[in-house]
């Protein structure tokens, strides 16, 4: 679908801005509800995530002693801005991305990493011991999943011969789904996304039974709300990206709902099925298994491309 809308509306309402925030909340609700149902719980009501955000926004934000005030206030905003910006390059809701250029794939991924880094910095900008341990773990985890995730996303890019998300998306729609041709890449991308979002079993950075809320322990009120919102948006972007690349592209809103919904279902199941990994286990898993699998996939794709060129 290709729409022409005034850029200001794109940024503030659809598909950026408000609509994106709302979809983040809807996805958070769907994720929580699915996990709850898998765990034999009732789960939250539909408006619960919105209620949480509104409540947090209305509350006083306490800036703890020992933290840099400017950084403390700025980091949640930077995180949210990074997430919102990243959404502009991704075919959100089945609409063609409004800003697109050669190499926007890399920009998107780095914007998502910027989010994680501001999370880590937020934890480090504190004298609270839970925050510090959480920040260490957040950044350690960043260094472990980032490379395999990147390798997994590069797979379709190589096959499509482009670094532009919209082109890869279009190419994925034309050929057989990449999940068939590159199953390993799909797996690494999906699990990598879970690591990126710090979802169970990769939730060591915010393991509440050990370090309370990890990097965000000292955050309250507005800052906490913004961080949570940016994570929700990251969830939508990540799902869209993986669906666009591996599940035959996203061409219209129905595609978007079905494919991201299906992915979310699988992800919720994976979240329920395992015990939390320790941070050393997470790192070991990603470097020993994830990165190697990603590399094997890339080599296979490269070999495939050369063989095809040689034949033609």
């Amino acid at each position: 679908m290709n729409l022409t809308i005034h850029p200001l509306i794109v940024l503030l309402f659809f598909p950026g801005g408000l609509f994106l925030l709302a979809s983040g909340l809807v996805f958070q609700w769907a994720d929580r509800k699915l996990v709850a149902r898998f765990q034999n719980r009732v789960g939250p009501r539909f408006l619960q995530p919105l209620a949480d955000v509104l409540k947090l926004l209305a509350k006083e934000e306490i800036i703890p002693e020992g933290a840099h005030r400017g950084l403390f206030v700025a980091l949640p905003i930077i995180a949210l801005a990074a997430a919102l910006t990243a959404a502009l390059y991704v075919p959100m809701f089945g609409v063609q991305p409004f800003f697109s250029f050669q190499g926007d794939l890399i920009v998107t991924i780095y914007l998502l990493s910027a989010l994680t880094i501001s999370l880590g910095l937020a934890g480090a900008n504190s004298v609270d011991r839970f925050s510090l341990v959480g920040a260490t773990r957040t950044l350690t985890q960043l260094f472990s999943y980032e490379a395999p995730f990147l390798l997994a996303v590069i797979g379709p890019a190589l096959a499509a011969q482009s670094w532009q998300i919209s082109k890869i998306n279009a190419y994925a729609g034309e050929t057989t789904w990449f999940i068939v041709a590159q199953p390993i890449g799909f797996l690494v991308a999906l699990v990598g996304l879970m690591g990126k979002l710090e979802l169970p079993p990769f939730d060591a950075p915010e393991a509440e039974t050990e370090i309370v809320a990890g990097a965000l322990t000292e955050y309250s009120g507005r800052g906490f709300a913004l961080f949570r919102l940016s994570k929700d948006i990251e969830l939508v972007i990540g799902l869209t990206l993986v669906a666009a690349f591996y599940l035959g592209g996203i061409a219209n809103p129905l595609d978007f709902v079905l494919k991201t919904g299906g992915l979310l279902l699988v992800m919720a199941l994976l979240q329920t099925a395992f015990a939390r990994l320790r941070i050393d286990q997470t790192v070991g898993l990603w470097w020993r298994v994830g990165a190697l699998m990603g590399l094997v996939q890339i080599l296979a794709i490269l070999a495939g491309i050369y063989i095809r060129q040689w034949w033609l």
Partner: protein, 395 residues
């Protein structure tokens, strides 16, 4: 800043008294080097309730209800320990059927306690699915206890000299049905504990305690039995009806967290088996024998196997309507030493599970600690003294 505060270049991670991992207040300090714990300490006493002192102000019968309130999870076993001590002092014995019913309650309580623990321990390891499912299934045994006594937590089944509630054949059938379901579910959980890769990664080889360590540190209950220390009051000094309906002791060799999971689950299955045996040969008799209002003077100890290990009561009677002294030592108190010792060398992420591994019950083990401050004679404190001290302390 943190480092300066502690001066010795130590990085201390405090857990508790308020912390998401702890459902009851206790304070732990873990000195960490990166993720590795290099030192640990514990501070207890946040929920001291003055129960032992309170017991001296109540009659023998009133005390039954007080003792039951020491613990909300193993309430029946506290009352049983107390009642058996009092019966020993009075020189009476409960009728056979009453003793069998005491055992039935005790074993049902063990099932619910171990299933509760399974959920909590899984939650500490971030395995919330197991937590939710085991607690859902625990409702089955809670319903049984409610059917028998009308209560889910404090059943107050015991009387001095017998029990309050009888079991009808209809009730036994219902319990049997529930037990069949539970046995099936427990077999499934045992399978999960033994075969789930991520779960094994968090439990096998973690917090390993040798038999010698268990003996040295005075560990009791499933914690000790998981380290191949075969000691179970139900087997070694049978009380209630355990002589007629014996249980098999469950021990494991490994001594790690995984072994503690296995021992507790197998113990629960053993409880189900012994319950079935009792139902087959339920003795017929009265439920209560007559006990004098005044208990003859004397001192006695009473030991029972609570779900967490050996529970120890010392009871002294002056020959009146009220006890002169009741001393309670709960199993959790014996097991703290193992936590502090085993914590060193492990990762911070393992701490909640090692902590939960002994199935701690904070409120039960908080007893009076004598503080010698501004007092001439610290040995004898009256109720008024204690009350004043408490008010002054928190002012």
């Amino acid at each position: 800043m943190t480092l300066e505060k502690h001066g010795e270049n130590r990085f201390v991670v405090p857990i508790g008294p308020q912390h998401p991992a702890l459902k009851e207040p206790g304070h732990f300090e873990f000195v960490v080097d990166g993720e590795i714990v290099t030192g640990a300490s514990v501070r207890l006493g946040y929920v001291h309730r003055g129960i032992e002192k309170g017991a001296e102000d109540r009659t023998w019968t009133q005390n039954l209800y007080l003792m039951e309130r020491i613990c909300g999870i193993c309430s029946h076993i506290h009352a049983t320990a107390f009642v058996q001590g009092v019966e020993k002092l009075a020189g009476v014995e409960a009728p056979p059927r009453a003793r069998a019913i005491r055992e039935i309650f005790a074993e049902l309580e063990r099932i619910h306690s171990h299933m509760l623990w399974l959920g909590v321990a899984a939650h500490e390891g971030g395995f919330d699915a197991l937590f939710m499912y085991s607690w859902r299934d625990r409702e089955v045994v809670m319903d049984m206890l409610e059917m028998l006594s009308g209560n889910r937590v404090h059943y107050s089944a015991n009387l001095i000299g017998g029990v309050k509630y009888d079991l009808t054949p209809d009730m036994m059938d219902k319990i049997r049905e529930g037990l069949n379901y539970l046995e099936e579910r427990l077999a499934h959980y045992l399978d999960v504990v033994n075969n789930d890769e991520t779960f094994i990664g968090r439990t096998r080889g973690i917090g390993t305690m040798t038999r010698e360590q268990a003996q040295l540190l005075g560990a009791v209950g499933p914690t000790a039995r998981a380290s191949n220390f075969a000691y179970d009051v139900r087997v070694d000094a049978p009380y209630a009806a355990y002589a007629e309906f014996p249980v098999e002791m469950v021990v494991a060799q490994e001594g790690d967290l995984h072994a503690r999971f296995v021992v507790r689950i197998l113990e629960t299955m053993e409880s189900i088996r012994v319950l079935r045996r009792i139902f087959e040969n339920m003795p017929e008799s009265e439920l209560v024998t007559r006990v004098p209002r005044r208990i003859p003077a004397g001192e006695t100890i009473s030991r029972v196997e609570a779900p967490r290990g050996e529970l120890f009561y010392f009871i002294a009677s002056g020959g009146g309507e009220k006890p002169e002294r009741v001393k309670v030592r709960t199993p959790s108190l014996c097991n703290w030493g193992t936590v502090i010792t085993l914590a060193v060398g492990h990762k911070l992420a393992d701490m909640p599970m090692i902590l939960a591994g002994i199935d701690p019950c904070f409120s039960c083990n908080d007893r009076l600690v004598m503080v010698k401050r501004n007092r001439q004679d610290p040995q004898v404190w009256t109720w008024a003294d204690l009350r004043n001290y408490g008010i002054e302390y928190y002012r």
